[in-house]
Amino acid sequence: MTVDFALYAADDVQTAIVAWLTPLRRTGFERTAGDPLPSCVVELVAGTESVGQSFSDPVVSVHTFCDKSLGAPAARDECAKTHNRMLLLFDEHEITIGTRVVGIDYLEVVESPRWEYYSDNILRKVARYRLGLPYVPNI
């Protein structure tokens, strides 16, 4: 039995942003208790998609987790690095994942980084971004 698929679709934004932030620090789709700090998690929280226009506009949350015992200034600096790395996508329109290149048409800051409670031992900042991802051929 054969199953047909669409020839074009948007790349997975979570995978792309995880790859983009990984050179900075440990980054993943979710956080597990005991994971080393600092670390980042990328979550897909919302977004729209237009098949007719072959375009996807996902919104992702980027969480930066830091060891509270190292103090708020250290956490602030780590979180600033995350945001600065994300802002680079305003000018850099490609994310390379192995041999695949993901195109980024635009970046918008939906919510600037803000402190949000996570646990008694971990400081966290969360920022939200909207990215424009064009449909590309499925490989």
């Binding site: 979550e43 929280v45 919302a46 237009s50 226009q53 409670y117 646990s119």
Partner: protein, 103 residues
């Protein structure tokens, strides 16, 4: 040409702003905010229902301005997640619901 698309847009926007500031659109705004509440509650996780029920019009329309919000003390934990719960993001989902392309 004396006018352009930008000028037409500016004239329409100014007319809209003036009507809103005069309170002429308040009834429509209240109606829209009620729709926002319905969508937001639809995206809300429900265990006791306290969070979902806390989503309401927190400021009725007046002179073109109003406000919808979640008044639960757990609102931020539900929106952004925590060590004990996922990031449900009902507010973000609601915003995107109304931002979706109208095709």
């Amino acid at each position: 040409m004396a006018s352009s698309a930008d000028e037409v847009h500016t004239i329409l926007a100014e007319g809209f702003d003036q009507a809103a500031a005069a309170g002429h659109l308040d009834a429509a705004l209240d109606e829209f905010m009620a729709e926002v509440v319905t969508v937001w509650q639809g995206y809300s996780p429900v265990r006791t229902g306290a969070y979902r029920n806390s989503v309401q019009i927190t400021q009725a329309a007046r002179d073109g301005k109003g406000q919808v919000g979640a008044t639960s003390v757990k609102a931020n934990l539900i929106e952004y997640g925590s060590e004990h719960n996922p990031e449900y993001a009902p507010r973000a989902k609601t915003i995107e619901y109304f931002n979706r392309p109208q095709t």
